[in-house]
């Protein structure tokens, strides 16, 4: 096992039919780091996440987590190793109350091992976790059906579902999209708290300003290829990135 690297992707390729979604993508991630994954629309950010989490199998290349080859593992096994993701499009179980949405991650074998939750107890654990992400306990908001919750709370719920799995690596797919500045400001402290607890995070974001404030390192994708990697300010200065975002000329 290589010393510092938690996650290592090497030479990833993915074609969907004739479309080359990911081309020769390699990167490493060390424990406790916050990596920002950015790029124009359709640049392959979500595909990259899908490759890591097993929702999509790579055409070529390998993914190692803690020195273990997890290439093409099914998603549920990847989660059990301690990688949890959120989805860009939140899809809660709309007809259930928010806290009941938490039962599903709390039922997973990974949590069972650690918490030992049984039927009934899970409700209490769910309410605790939701309080952590800002469902105020005295406001009944955790008891409301997911279908009536505003987008900000749905994103928090999505984050709480990932936290419930007690992962070491979080992959947050456009957590801030569709949120107001105030709502983003409410979620940033939760992410900072995760970092203080030594969690490693990959964030896909279009909200660059907010991302650059918290990210250690930025990786830029364009047409499925890595075009830049490094500190936020140096990356954004580079010509290739400017070109990708603003077009040539």
């Amino acid at each position: 096992m290589s010393t510092a690297s938690l996650l290592k992707a090497s030479g990833l390729y993915k074609n969907f039919g004739g479309v080359q979604a990911i081309t020769n993508l390699s990167f490493e991630l060390s424990q406790g780091e916050l990596l920002g994954l950015i790029g124009p629309n359709g640049s392959g950010k979500t595909t990259a996440v899908n490759l890591i989490t097993g929702f999509v199998k790579p055409t070529e290349g390998e993914i190692h987590y803690r020195g273990r080859n997890i290439t093409a593992w099914p998603p549920y096994k990847v989660v059990r190793l301690g990688i949890a993701r959120t989805f860009q499009m939140v899809k809660p179980f709309y007809q259930l109350p928010a806290y009941k949405n938490m039962i599903i991650p709390l039922y997973s074998p990974r949590v069972k091992q650690r918490v030992g939750g049984k039927f009934g107890d899970r409700d209490a654990v769910a309410l605790d976790l939701l309080e952590e992400v800002g469902f105020e306990r005295d406001s009944f908001v955790a008891y409301k059906t997911a279908s009536v919750l505003p987008q900000g709370y749905l994103k928090r719920l999505e984050l709480a579902k990932a936290i419930a799995l007690q992962p070491d690596l979080f992959i947050l797919d456009e957590l801030f999209s569709g949120l107001s500045l105030a709502e983003v400001a409410g979620i940033v402290p939760i992410i900072e708290k995760l970092r203080q607890n030594g969690k490693t995070i990959i964030m896909i974001e279009h909200r660059l300003k907010e991302l650059f404030r918290i990210a250690d390192r930025i990786l830029v994708l364009n047409y499925g290829e890595k075009i830049a990697e490094g500190k936020a300010d140096t990356v954004m200065e580079s010509d290739v990135v400017k070109k990708a975002y603003l077009g040539s000329e």
């Binding site: 929702f55 179980f93 039962i103 599903i104 039922y107």
Partner: protein, 333 residues
């Protein structure tokens, strides 16, 4: 003295939510009635009915079980068009155990329920990954294929079937066995679907990626739901074999696939109680219409259409919401 109307369920719900603080027998009755009515009904019906309607009751209960079995699968996101597969597999297993090995029906039936359920699960295991209409198509085709297999290979009596299968010791054992199993299945599986385990199953039908993303192997859970459902179906088949004292190709008939779906849809899918209610309406209805003769199926079809158009959410959901809307007059100071 002024009076106003008040919904009676809210106060009772509030008082019975966390701590049980019901004081009056009327409130307890309000809560218990929806459970007591079917329970007492299942217990008394065999005693009240005459011999002909007792036979009808057997087939009502069998179709209710098939509808419950369909509903459990449907709630897990697998819409089956082949309940006949489960029914037929249970029927042939129990028939074979009794005919060739001479096992007593009361031993053959439970064994056939589990073994038949296992065989069906193994049959459908390869297509568990299919979703929606693709899964449905396969479940529709397999029983039709099995009929031809029996016909062509002449196994288990071929087109003649196996006759002379032992019946259950008495009519009363027959009646109370099936009513007992129906009660257990209805209340037991309703409780199961309301538990955290049931939540996972329903989650799979709602959004399977999200469930997978929670570290849960959805195929393992789907297999379990399939096994539960096929065991219920296999039991009803095994039971009917010993009622008819015959097993043959008709056990794979389309009736056993379609009628349970109609029952669940008319009664209200997603509750199991609706499926049971649907069977208790549709099967007797079909018996009553028998007197009409040739146009029976037409009238039956009309009834189905009327039910579905008038109460698209199902009778049970309608009755349930009306029950919660009961009001009483209270005095206003």
């Amino acid at each position: 003295m002024k009076k106003r109307k008040e919904r009676i369920d809210r106060g009772i719900k509030a008082r019975s939510g966390d701590i049980f603080a019901l004081s009056s027998w009327r409130e307890m009755l309000y809560l218990a009635a929806p459970r007591l009515i079917p329970l007492v009904g299942f217990l008394l019906l065999p005693l009240i009915l005459g011999p002909y309607w007792q036979k009808v009751l057997l087939s009502v209960a069998v179709f209710a079980l098939l509808a419950i079995s369909w509903d459990i699968l449907a709630q897990t996101g697998m819409v089956s068009l082949g309940q006949a597969l489960f029914f037929g597999m249970g029927a042939y297993t129990s028939g074979t155990l009794n005919f060739y090995l001479g096992w007593h029906p009361l031993i053959a039936i439970p064994i056939a329920s589990v073994v038949g359920g296992l065989i069906c699960t193994v049959f459908l295991l390869p297509v568990l990954r299919l979703r929606g209409i693709y899964f449905s198509m396969v479940t529709l085709i397999i029983p039709l294929m099995l009929v031809r297999v029996v016909e062509a290979t002449k196994i288990f009596g071929g087109t003649e079937g196996l006759s002379g299968i032992a019946s259950l010791p008495s009519k009363w054992i027959e009646l109370y066995l099936i009513m007992g199993v129906l009660t257990a299945a209805l209340f037991g599986f309703r409780r199961m679907m309301g538990s955290d385990y049931g939540l996972i199953l329903k989650g799979i039908s709602d959004n399977d990626r999200s469930v997978m993303n929670a570290g849960i192997n959805i195929y393992w859970f789907k297999t379990q739901a399939l096994f539960i459902s096929s065991c219920i179906g296999a039991f009803s088949g095994a039971f009917m074999t010993h009622v008819y004292m015959f097993v043959g190709m008709p056990v794979f008939a389309l009736d056993y696939s379609i009628l349970p779906i109609a029952a669940a849809v008319v009664g209200g899918p997603g509750t199991l109680a609706g499926a049971t209610l649907g069977a208790f309406i549709l099967v007797p209805l079909s018996e009553i219409l028998r007197g009409i003769g040739g146009l029976r199926i037409v009238f039956y079809g009309l009834f189905l259409v009327v039910f579905i158009v008038a109460l698209p959410e199902g009778i049970f959901h309608y009755v349930q919401s009306k029950y919660h809307q009961f009001e009483r007059w209270v005095e206003v100071e």
